[in-house]
């Protein structure tokens, strides 16, 4: 019996189908290992270099108003929280992860502004003080230390470079001392501070 007769026409079609399916699966596998997604998606889901995936919040806000991040300010604060927050609970809005963000819509011709934050450290085993590194539109505003009690209110000047021509001010709060609430908790569930109030006020300069 010759080699060619060992396989029927159906067999040859089946081999062709195997080759096609394997080729499709290899292409998909290659794409899975080399994802095309970039930017914030990649940083959060794939590379896991951030715990904060900013959502497209409008930042709707009136300059000069100090917004409560307790339950009484839930409506006003809603559009100011792109990521890294949970709540509000009765004692404020809790940070989750290693970074939290705030967004404030501003007029491009806004006057020099100060960022006002009222915050308190979480009451969990770990450092007594939580360090918070604050930046606005990528410009560093400084580092503050926040105790568990009492709440601390700070006012940080925003550099003119961070405001120039901008229609939003994106505030990043980084928490180098954030703690895991329970053993094995993921980095996206780390805790650092509770935000009680925040706002932008005309600078006292």
């Amino acid at each position: 019996m010759s080699e060619a007769k060992r396989f029927s026409r159906e067999d040859l079609w089946a081999y062709a189908a195997v080759a096609l399916v394997v080729a499709i699966e290899l292409v998909v596998l290659w794409r899975a290992l080399n994802p095309g997604a970039g930017g914030e998606y990649r940083a959060y889901y794939i590379d896991k270099t951030t715990t904060c995936l900013p959502q497209p919040m409008t930042g709707e806000y009136k300059i000069g108003r100090i917004v409560s991040f307790r339950p009484d300010g839930v409506e006003a604060a809603l559009e100011l929280k792109p990521c890294g927050w949970e709540g509000p609970a009765g004692d404020g809005t809790h940070s989750v992860g290693e970074t939290s963000r705030l967004r404030f819509a501003v007029d491009p011709d806004a006057p020099p502004l100060d960022l006002v934050l009222e915050l308190v450290a979480v009451d969990l085993p770990g450092p007594a003080l939580q360090r918070v590194r604050v930046s606005a539109n990528g410009e560093g505003l400084g580092e503050i230390s926040v105790p568990r009690d009492p709440a601390r209110r700070v006012s940080l000047p925003i550099p003119a470079a961070a405001l120039a021509g901008r229609t939003v001010v994106d505030i990043a709060l980084d928490f180098p001392d954030a703690v895991r609430a329970y053993p094995g908790a993921p980095d996206t569930r780390k805790r650092a501070i509770k935000l009680l109030a925040a706002g932008l006020v005309p600078a006292e300069r």
Binding site: L29, A32, G36, L53, M57
Partner: protein
């Protein structure tokens, strides 16, 4: 076919009674909607609106990409034909699929009438029947799993491969049934006098066996291709777990933590303990399957337990209820004695009421 039909009707009655008792103020017409809890709501949204783009319109990190498309897609198609709200349509489709699963289980139970009655009662009227009759993927997963093992029993590998492909589009663990298919082929090869070393060359000479193997995970690959097109990330179904705080870890450690999470008060096992016990039940039944040399079922069950266990024991009651080989093994054991059968049937039917009551009142072990 009448036995499952009787349990389908009895199950509907039991769940409706539980619904009236748990939610007396809710109109009877909202029965189907009221049973839609937890993951069900995600499936409703997929059936109605499809998959989330990025950024997620709800402005949260948790997109709905973790939920596989076959069953919500089927309900989405049924919505185009049937003039009912989504949950009514989904309930009808689930009932039909669960009924079909119960009927299809008959040949796998090899004429064991008591085991068959128990399994039909378990699916259609038992404590976890709500999983199989609301909008979850368990009913379809059970039907397709049974279909694959039926096809394997008849050595119809290509059909097994096609059903496996559908299974892999239902839940990600469905891809692991490819190992059951390969083992079934290997066992047949050995029964025919083939050697271990001769299996691969034999496989290469059988293009339809090869086709069955490579087709098995195709459903998952098609979904991955869609995610790649939609998001640029074929593994979005896995990556999105970060938004839920799921961390991959040692399955044994997760199981140990669950089993040792003792309740603060009382004797009733805590929620993690109940979920951990469900995993232990699955492992024990998998051991029995292996001991009975039902290796394809045992290997598939092992994957379906260990892989999800690497993310914790959450939802393990549901996962085990939807793992057909494990539950079929259990009903075979319970059917061994007539008194045990009668007791098990009674417990299952009572559980049909209390399980639904617990589901409706937020009993966390059932998540």
């Amino acid at each position: 076919m009448l036995v499952p039909l009787a349990f389908l009707v009895a199950g509907l009655a039991l769940r409706f009674l539980a619904f009236r008792a748990a939610l007396p103020g809710v109109p009877a017409a909202d029965f189907a909607q009221a049973l839609c809890r937890w993951d069900c709501e995600w499936y409703v949204r997929i059936a109605e609106e499809g998959y989330d783009p990025f950024p997620v319109p709800a402005r949260v990190a948790g997109g709905n990409w973790a939920f596989f498309p076959l069953f919500p897609g089927l309900v989405g198609l049924a919505r185009l034909i049937l003039p009912f709200p989504t949950m009514v349509t989904a309930t009808l489709v689930s009932l039909a699929v669960s009924y079909a699963a119960a009927v299809a289980a008959w040949p796998l139970l090899a004429g064991n009438r008591r085991a068959y009655a128990l399994y039909a009662a378990f699916l259609l009227a038992g404590p976890f029947s709500v999983y199989f009759t609301t909008f979850m993927t368990e009913a379809m997963f059970v039907l397709l799993t049974i279909g694959v093992f039926l096809a394997l029993r008849q050595s119809n590998y290509l059909l097994a491969g096609v059903l496996a492909a559908l299974l892999s589009a239902t839940r990600i663990v469905g891809v692991f049934i490819v190992f059951a298919i390969v083992i079934a082929m290997f066992l047949e090869h050995r029964r025919r006098g083939g050697t271990v070393a001769g299996f691969i060359p034999e496989l290469l000479k059988r293009p339809f066996w090869l086709l069955a193997i490579v087709v098995s995970p195709l459903g998952a690959f098609v979904y991955m291709a869609y995610l790649d097109w939609q998001l640029g990330d074929a593994l979005a179904f896995q990556h999105v777990q970060r938004a839920w705080g799921r961390v991959v870890g040692n399955p044994a450690v997760y199981l140990w933590h669950s089993l040792t999470s003792f309740p603060g008060a009382g004797f009733l096992p805590s929620t993690p303990q109940q979920q951990g016990l469900a995993a232990v039940f699955g492992l024990v039944m998998t051991g029995v399957l292996a001991w009975k040399r039902r290796l394809p079922e045992a290997v598939f069950s092992l994957f379906c337990i260990v892989i999800p266990l690497s993310a914790g024991t959450i939802s393990f009651v549901r996962f085990m209820a939807g793992l057909a080989p494990v539950c079929l093994m259990a009903v075979e054991l319970l059917a061994a004695r007539s008194w045990l059968f009668a007791l098990a049937l009674l417990v299952l039917l009572a559980g049909g009421y209390f399980g639904t009551f617990g589901w409706l009142t937020g009993y966390l072990s059932l998540v």
